[in-house]
């Protein structure tokens, strides 16, 4: 048993898959010699060679396109976006080429596109984004977003083995903040499409994913102490496909739902979850579905501004108390 960070767990998952399957290879900017901007792939090129850990030009569209082509030929590419903000440069390639490939042409495209996302780190507008909503809308892409070290490892391994293209979002605020003891010598695979009950409760449910799982946990602890409220937290882990069964189960259990995400509000994932609850569990609701999200602005740099724009534990407490009293 050894305690590892979120980042180390991710590294282990990548390493194990590279060792297990020689069809797996990596490509991205500065991932080889340097080991990546956050050192996720540190030591990989030395171990696996330049042919399997490829430093590329600054060309996100070509990185994704080349990954797709190699995947058609039976390889299992893992493409890194140095910061996930730059995935928008490959938006066309992902949504038009990759996402449609199986449906329109029967092409197998088992690629993983991964990279550091998220704020709370003073990264400013272009090193803090959560791009899930831009891809959530496109049929053909899977999206995973681990919140724990265990799932960071289990989901990267499952993503690499998945037959469909997967966008793997890794929150950089969690990289070195979250530690967890993982068993050694046991393979960790987190099934894609299954949410995780992060905290059991009876009074209301918080449905969330990524860094805000931890913000919600803090809020739940506080409310238990101060209000005697029993808050359930569902960590979605996978955004596409959404685990409708787990979502409806928690709604039926607590009858009140707060959806929390770090991404901006309009057109965000919370809206879709709310609509599904409305369609599938309307009679079980004892209050309106509430949302805590970022404000609808680009993410600003100054700590005062960033902290105001992003959802904080206090915001979750405030919204949850309002909902509990509804």
């Amino acid at each position: 048993m050894a305690e590892v960070t979120f980042l180390e767990a991710l590294r282990q998952g990548l390493w194990e898959e590279m060792e297990r399957d020689d069809r797996v290879f990596m490509l991205g900017e500065d991932i080889g010699v340097y080991g990546g901007a956050f050192k996720v792939t540190d030591g990989f090129q030395k171990k696996f060679g330049e042919a399997r850990v490829i430093d590329t030009p600054i060309s996100e569209a070509a990185i994704v396109g080349a990954a797709a082509g190699a995947a058609h030929m039976g390889l299992r590419p893992v493409a890194e976006m140095q910061f996930i903000d730059f995935i928008s440069c490959a938006y066309d390639m992902l949504t038009n080429y990759v996402a449609t490939a199986r449906y329109r042409a029967g092409l197998s495209t088992p690629i993983v596109v991964r990279g550091p996302c998220g704020g709370y780190v003073r990264g400013g507008p272009f090193h803090s984004q959560n791009p899930e909503a831009a891809f959530f809308h496109t049929p053909g892409l899977k999206i995973v977003y681990p919140a724990t070290a265990r799932d960071a490892k289990g989901l990267i391994k499952a993503s690499i083995r998945d037959e469909d293209p997967v966008i793997y979002l890794e929150h950089k605020w969690l990289y070195r903040r979250i530690k967890e003891t993982l068993p050694e010598g046991e393979e960790i695979l987190t099934p894609i499409g299954e949410a995780r009950l992060a905290r059991a409760g009876t009074d209301l449910s918080i449905i969330t994913y990524g860094a805000t799982v931890w913000k919600a946990l803090d809020a739940a602890e506080q409310m238990e102490k101060e209000d005697g409220l029993s808050v359930e937290i569902l960590d979605l882990r996978t955004l596409v496909p959404l685990d409708d069964a787990a979502i409806m189960a928690t709604v039926r259990k607590t009858n009140k739902v707060l959806i929390v995400h770090e991404d901006t509000r309009t057109g965000g994932v919370a809206g879709e979850i709310a609509a599904r609850i409305n369609e599938q569990a309307f009679e079980w609701l004892d209050g309106p579905i509430a949302r805590v999200t970022a404000h609808d602005v680009p993410l600003p740099y100054a700590p005062t501004l960033e902290d105001f724009v992003l959802p904080q534990s206090d915001d979750i407490v405030k919204a949850a108390r309002w909902l509990a009293n509804y």
Binding site: F25, A51, R52, I54, T56, P57, S59, A61, A62, I63, V64, G65, A66, A67, A68, G69, A70, A71, H72, M73, G74, L75, P77, D92, M93, N96, Y97, T100, R102, Y103, R104, A105, G106, L107, P139, G140, K142, D162, E163, D164, P241
Partner: protein
């Protein structure tokens, strides 16, 4: 009956070009004729409203399509090309069948994409073609990845991708060409300078004179050839393919040609000078030029070519008859296959059975 007889001058015929066999020259002619006749059949079907969407002709460009594809190694798991809308000839060379093209255009249930995609947008990676998407330039990075896989596995295979003059303005073209060049992928890029990108002429598309100049900017070996000279295109492509196969990286061949029809069949070509179209048709048709070479050099004879023409027409007649009355795909077949898992999209309640 032959239109005119050719004296037997075999002993005096000029040597065969580009290390080609006589039978190969004749086979290239067959592919040229197959392309042109198939498109003519599609025009007829289009006018009968049997083609569901648009029809895109390659009239005047068949030479470079057929000749460049013919320079590849064909067969199961050999070279792979990625064609554009005007590379029907290249797909036929690689083994796409006329009935597949007809079914695609007519959106038949039995079409290669089961009615999901249009025209030549389909693939058979075993035979060696990967259909394009409509976002021009995107196939360059994808083919960089295909050829990267050849390189990683040490396979002696080559990829070839077509881009139009307009497509060389896209970001993915530049990213893909650069990445392929840096990674030294065994990739040949055919830049089709056909003078019109929908309605846009070259001077409004780029400020360089030749597309080859763009490729040279990335350290890519580039040449410009007469795209309507079948043997010149074949020779240049063969050379590039052999070099790429030997590990010499990316090669770019610019083929100067001319789009004699509109962007699609509906297009009235009001922006194209009439005399320009007529001049290319009269003086620079790739099929006419190739036939002239075949006959003047004694590499073939009119009766042989006429027999091919008849066989091609019969083949297309049979293919048309075999599929023209076939059904469209059943509506609910729209749902499966977005992912491996889940196997099908949810059928929405208001379309419940």
């Amino acid at each position: 009956m032959p239109l005119h007889s050719v004296p037997d001058t075999r002993s005096e015929t000029p040597p065969l070009p580009a290390e080609l066999e006589r039978s190969q020259l004749v086979e290239m002619y067959r592919f040229l004729r197959l392309t042109r006749t198939l498109e003519e059949r599609l025009v007829a079907l289009y006018r009968q409203s049997k083609v569901i969407g648009g029809l895109y002709r390659s009239l005047g460009q068949e030479g470079e399509s057929v000749a460049s594809a013919y320079a590849l190694e064909r067969g199961r798991h050999r070279d792979i090309l990625s064609p554009l809308i005007r590379n029907l000839g290249a797909m036929l060379v690689m083994g796409a069948r006329p009935i597949e093209i007809l079914r695609q255009y007519m959106a038949k249930a039995e079409s290669p994409t089961r009615g999901r995609e249009l025209n030549v947008h389909f693939n058979d990676l075993e035979k060696g073609y990967l259909g394009q998407i409509s976002h021009l330039g995107d196939m360059v990075p994808v083919m960089a990845g295909i050829t990267l896989s050849f390189k990683m596995r040490g396979e002696p295979r080559v990829g070839l991708v077509y881009v139009g003059d307009g497509a060389t303005s896209t970001g993915t073209f530049h990213e893909g060409l650069n990445v392929a060049a840096v990674l030294r992928c065994p990739l040949v890029v055919i830049g089709e300078y056909n003078h019109w990108a929908y309605t846009t002429p070259p001077e409004k598309q780029f400020a360089v004179k030749d597309l080859a100049d763009k490729a040279r900017g990335y350290g890519v070996h580039a040449v410009t050839v007469d795209g309507n000279d079948v043997i010149a295109v074949y020779t240049a492509t063969r050379h590039a393919v052999e070099r790429a196969r030997r590990g010499k990286g990316v090669h770019f061949i610019e083929v100067k040609t001319y789009r004699r029809k509109g962007h699609a069949e509906h297009d009235d070509q009001s922006y194209q000078p009439k005399d320009e179209i007529e001049r290319w048709a009269k003086e620079n048709d790739p099929v006419d030029r190739f036939v002239k070479q075949l006959l003047e050099n004694g590499w073939s004879e009119a009766p042989e070519l006429e027999a091919i023409d008849r066989a091609v027409k019969d083949e297309i007649d049979q293919a048309t008859d075999a599929c023209v009355n076939d059904p469209l795909p059943p509506p609910e077949s729209a749902l499966p296959g977005v992912y491996v898992n889940p196997a099908a999209a949810e059928r929405l309640w208001f379309r419940g059975v």
